[in-house]
């Protein structure tokens, strides 16, 4: 079942929380809505779920217009940020809630609840209350509850935001596994964390200031970001102003062999880990170093570009230049792409 948003805008009072979002999510596809807080990504999810009413635009599920339907009539599974497990109901009753609302026969409810708890590995917690569960366990129950009604669309609103770093990594793996368990379900995954989007999404929709900035398959968006915002928000790329000369480009006066100029694209985008130190590159000065265990991150100023600082990730086994040292950075052409400068 496809989810289709057609020029959807949402106002909260006079605030424009979502501006003209058009987006299609196919059955079996995972689309991540990625953006900083206030970018409208949660509002978009709430509009699909029916928790807020669009001020204009239409929302369709499998072609049927549901814009005026209340959430109860949409049949969408929703997992919210703090999970919202009903605190007065046991885990099994939480999972059974949607089935009972649909007046499912009792035996069927029992069977399906058991199946769902099995799927998320929470069978032995069926009689617990939500407050007796850890964050990760609550998340599993919330997912089981949402999937119990066999929705064709699953909406996940920052499902990992409430967990600590270690657990987040584990649950990311669980979510990947879950994805394979429900191959036909369309999933909309809202997050501000690029690593979740990269790990889970087929396509990533980057949002900012209530608007969709870019949408594309994850690998494409990462390799050749269409905009400066996407380049830096997704993977923290360095952005360096370039000068063109004929077909070629220069950074701070240094020719970049192999990079072709494109009209209207004045910024060179390169990831911190793609830059190498070597000879005959762009001269930079190290102003800060940070050891991060598996790598060292250098922050450098580029001679001749006083406004710009460059981040370089060096593998941990390479020697770290001293603070203030002058080094030369090599920008491999295959890791470079050009993006338009921001016009605000």
């Amino acid at each position: 079942m496809t989810v289709q948003l057609d020029d959807v805008s949402v106002h909260f009072g006079r605030t424009l929380a979502l501006e003209g979002l058009s987006l299609t999510v196919a059955a079996g596809e995972t689309v991540a809505l990625l953006g900083p807080s206030g970018s409208g990504k949660s509002t978009a999810l709430k509009a699909v779920a029916g928790f807020v009413r669009p001020s204009s635009g239409r929302i369709r599920l499998a072609g049927q217009d549901v814009t005026d339907l209340p959430p109860a009539k949409r049949g969408i599974g929703v997992v919210v940020q703090q999970y919202a497990l009903f605190p007065h109901l046991r885990v099994s009753d939480n999972v059974a809630f949607g089935l009972r609302a649909a007046r499912t026969p009792k035996g069927e409810v029992t069977r399906r609840v058991a199946e769902m708890l099995e799927m998320v590995g929470m069978t032995s917690f069926a009689k617990r209350f939500p407050r007796e569960l850890s964050g990760g366990q609550q998340q599993r129950v919330a997912i089981a509850r949402a999937l119990a009604i066999q929705p064709k669309v699953l909406l996940l609103d920052e499902p990992l935001a409430a967990l600590d770093a270690q657990l987040r990594a584990d649950m990311l793996g669980e979510l990947q596994k879950l994805r394979r368990e429900v191959p036909d379900v369309a999933i909309v995954y809202v997050t501000h964390d690029q690593s979740e989007a990269l790990a889970l999404a087929d396509r990533i929709a980057v949002m900012r200031d209530a608007r969709l900035v870019d949408i594309a398959p994850a690998a494409q968006l990462y390799a050749t970001p269409p905009s400066a915002f996407t380049a830096s928000f997704l993977g923290g790329a360095n952005l360096l102003p370039v000068e063109t000369f004929g077909d070629g480009v220069k950074v701070a006066g240094h020719v970049l062999p192999g990079v072709r100029a494109t009209p209207g694209k004045e910024l060179l985008c390169i990831r911190p880990h793609a830059i190498r130190l070597g000879d005959a590159g762009v001269p930079v000065r190290v102003i800060a170093t940070q050891w991060r265990g598996s790598s060292n991150q250098l922050t450098c100023t580029v001679d001749g570009l006083p406004e710009v600082s460059v981040r370089i990730d060096l593998p941990a086994d390479l020697q770290v230049p001293a603070l203030g040292a002058q080094v030369s950075m090599v920008l491999p052409a295959e890791a470079c792409s050009l993006v338009p400068a921001e016009r605000r």
Binding site: A49, F51, P71, R74, V78, F97
Partner: protein, 265 residues
């Protein structure tokens, strides 16, 4: 604030105990002492007796207790139902309407109970609704006064409940009625129990409106106490006050247990 020195701590606590002992505890101790006093001419009472307490638990005075309990439960609990419903209705309302509803409900706090009593007296002393002289005018007075407190308690709790719960319940296919009965109200149970306790307790002690509207056949305990004291029967009044205190504490304690259980469950 950590007071780091031992004498500093001791001083703070002594001052605290003195002021609050005098201001808060003293009246109750005096009332209890008077309830059992045969005579009280010096600094301390003398000739202890349970005679006043026997008086307070017989005849007209016992009837008063029954009247007070009926009024408190009828008026107080009705107020909880109306207040809860009002809070739920106002919660979903758009901004300006919610603000008006909010102001409306808080009006009775700024408004003296005698004014409420007077209003009811004037309104219900003539056709089309003649309630003056019946117990219903007392019950309505308590209802009007307690609605504000119930509303305030429940509305405050509603503010703290994440709307996600109701949203998620709806997304699971639950009708608005099912969401209300199976999700929203159960989550408000502690607040509702607390509102019930508050309403009943305040109702048990209400004087201002009651004294304006009560018929001779429906005299609450606080009014009896006033009448006894006014006639100079101070010790009997004190015994009656002790009965009222005990009844109130028992009722509030019982309602509080309900709330405690709701939280634990």
């Amino acid at each position: 604030m950590l007071v780091w020195t031992k004498p500093g701590k001791a001083l703070t606590w002594t001052a605290f105990a003195l002021v609050f002992g005098v201001l808060v505890l003293a009246p109750f101790i005096v009332v209890i002492a008077a309830a059992f006093a045969g005579t009280w001419n010096g600094v301390l009472p003398s000739n202890p007796t349970v005679g006043h307490l026997q008086e307070a638990l017989s005849g007209d005075e016992l009837a008063s207790l029954s009247v007070s309990l009926q009024t408190a439960f009828l008026g107080g609990l009705l107020a909880v139902v109306v207040g809860t419903w009002g809070a739920l209705a106002a919660h979903g309302a758009p901004g300006p309407v919610a603000r008006v509803a909010d102001a409306l409900h808080h009006l009775p706090i700024a408004v003296p109970s005698v004014v409420v009593g007077l209003g009811l007296l004037v309104a219900f002393s003539r056709q089309p609704i003649l309630l003056n002289g019946t117990k219903w005018i007392v019950v309505i007075a308590h209802l009007v006064l307690m609605v504000a407190f119930s509303y305030g308690t429940v509305a405050a709790a509603l503010q703290r409940v994440d709307p996600s719960y109701a949203d998620v319940a709806a997304s699971l296919g639950a009708s608005p009625a099912r969401v209300l009965w199976q999700v929203r109200l159960p989550m408000l149970r502690p607040a509702i129990a607390s509102a019930a306790g508050l309403s009943v307790a305040l109702s048990m002690g209400e004087v201002g409106a009651t004294i304006m509207v009560y018929p001779a056949s429906w005299r609450t305990v606080p009014v009896s106490i006033f009448a006894l004291s006014d006639r100079g029967q101070t010790f009997t009044a004190a015994a009656e006050a002790l009965v009222l205190l005990t009844a109130t504490v028992l009722v509030v304690f019982t309602l509080d247990r309900l709330r405690g259980r709701a939280v634990e469950q």
